[in-house]
Amino acid sequence: MNKRSRWALPYFIFLVLFVALPLLLIVIYSFTDGAGHFSFANLTKFFSDGNSLSTFAVSIEVAIENTLLCILIGYPAAYILADKKLNPSAVTVVLFILPMWINALMRTLATAELFNMAGIPLGKGTLLFGMCYDYLPFMIYPIYNVLNKMDKSYAEAAQDLGATPGEVFRKVTLPLSLPGVWSGVMMVFMPTVSTFAISEFLTNNKIKLFGTIIQENINNSMWNYGAALSLIMLVIIGITTLFQGGKSEGEASGGVLI
């Protein structure tokens, strides 16, 4: 029995080398200058650079709006999909996941082209709708999953005890489905902040998100500043994960396939 626990050793070494060490390098590069000396210059540069700060603020704003939009559109969809009376066929759920197999960049370019044809100028509005297209399945799936596994007798009990349908939803279904919403938020919020390419295509380079400035710095060999910007994202990820505090997002994303 105990011997077989050693089978985890190769993966442990792999994780240390290719997950932990690279993250440590982000921290190290953030706090050094080009010559390898310890310095706070990268972080002070970020907090005194109006451009980076405003990009950061815009990214957070867009990510919050996109996440809310995904919940607003995705929650009712997930609710209907999980209701056997309203949606008797499991195939409908597959239809929501299917678009994810088409290259995201290609879908985004087509979306931008559709906006062009409809005569809608590319900007904040098209960015939000385009992002929502891309991330909606990631919001619907975890909520659907939780609602689908939920014990229906809770809602029935509430109904028997005299709750109106609205009260059943507010006091029973909604609180029980919140873990799914949290997983969805994790899968939509951070990726939205960090997208590059997608935001460029959807706004014709008018609006930059945080991912784009990280990419620009790394590509222009400003590794230390790029690392510092990545570190800021890492800190935010750490905070949101603490809020959510659990394994649920792993399970949720592990089930995206079928």
Partner: protein, 269 residues
């Protein structure tokens, strides 16, 4: 009751129409010769013919990008499946703090946005002076694919009776034989779904490939589309290619799901 059902179905239909609009758009315009999306110059199979005969108008890079994408996804998924299955068996037998550490580390690539995985690995390769190319891209893909395999295999292990494995050892099997004849057959469905998940994650990746492919001109489909779009003007043959991929996936998924729902119906009967 009736009205709510109709409203609910209409809502689902509306969201699906919105989701599929860009894909249908690509598919429709794959049947015309025009270079840019949204420009209709009459019905034609030319783009499909170009794609299959390999006579692309301006870029032979597309075919090699497709090959690279498949090759990298296959290699990454295979390595992840072996590494992840071994790891899952190991983690299953770990207790306490060691197990917590492993699950924590395993969760990091799942939580990290692609760009962080990409940048951090880029820094690692720069730091260790590893020249970037196929090797580093596959390695990077293994990094974000393996956690999915671990999460696919781990739940199954707790359902398996450990006595069966012990019995095989008692009856004289070497650990290797017991693994081949007992564990792997039992874990096979989960390993396969882990493999498929890893394969699709790798296929769809853009950001991690972008940062770890180096400067040798290695392109996958995603990076090819990105460079193409930034140059202005997509290779027109991408439209039929995407349409074919979409139809293939649609058929495969529908077959799998209809089969599954029939099986569960049978079991319920």
């Amino acid at each position: 009751m009736k009205i709510t059902t109709i409203a609910a179905r209409a809502y689902i239909a509306l969201v699906l129409i919105l989701l599929y609009a860009p894909i249908v758009f690509i598919a429709v315009f794959s049947f015309t010769e025009a270079k840019s999306l949204g420009n209709w110059t009459g019905f034609s199979f030319t783009l499909y013919r170009n794609l299959f005969t390999g006579s692309l108008q301006n870029s032979s890079g597309l075919i090699s990008a497709v090959n690279n994408t498949l090759l990298i996804a296959l290699a990454a998924a295979l390595i992840s499946t072996v590494l992840g299955t071994l790891a899952a068996v190991g983690i299953h037998n770990l207790r306490g703090r060691k197990r917590q550490t492993m699950t924590f580390l395993n969760n990091i690539p799942l939580i990290n946005p692609d760009i962080i995985t990409g940048v951090s690995l880029f820094l690692l390769f720069v730091f260790l002076h590893i020249s970037q190319g196929y090797f580093t891209v596959i390695l990077a893909h293994v990094t974000f694919c393996t956690p999915y395999v671990v999460l696919s295999v781990l739940p199954k292990l707790s359902q398996i009776n450990p006595d069966i494995y012990a019995a095989a050892l008692d009856l004289g099997a070497t650990p290797g034989q017991a693994m081949r004849k007992i564990l792997i057959p039992m874990l096979r469905p989960n390993m396969i779904s882990g493999f498929i998940l890893a394969f699709t994650m790798s296929l769809d990746d853009f950001a991690v490939t972008f940062f770890t492919r180096g400067t040798i001109g290695l392109d996958t489909l995603s990076t090819y589309i990105y460079t193409d779009a930034r140059k202005g003007g997509l290779t027109p043959e991408l439209k039929p290619l995407m349409t074919i991929i979409f139809l293939l996936v649609l058929v495969v998924l529908l077959v799998i799901n209809i089969r599954q729902s029939r099986q569960t119906e049978k079991i319920q009967k």
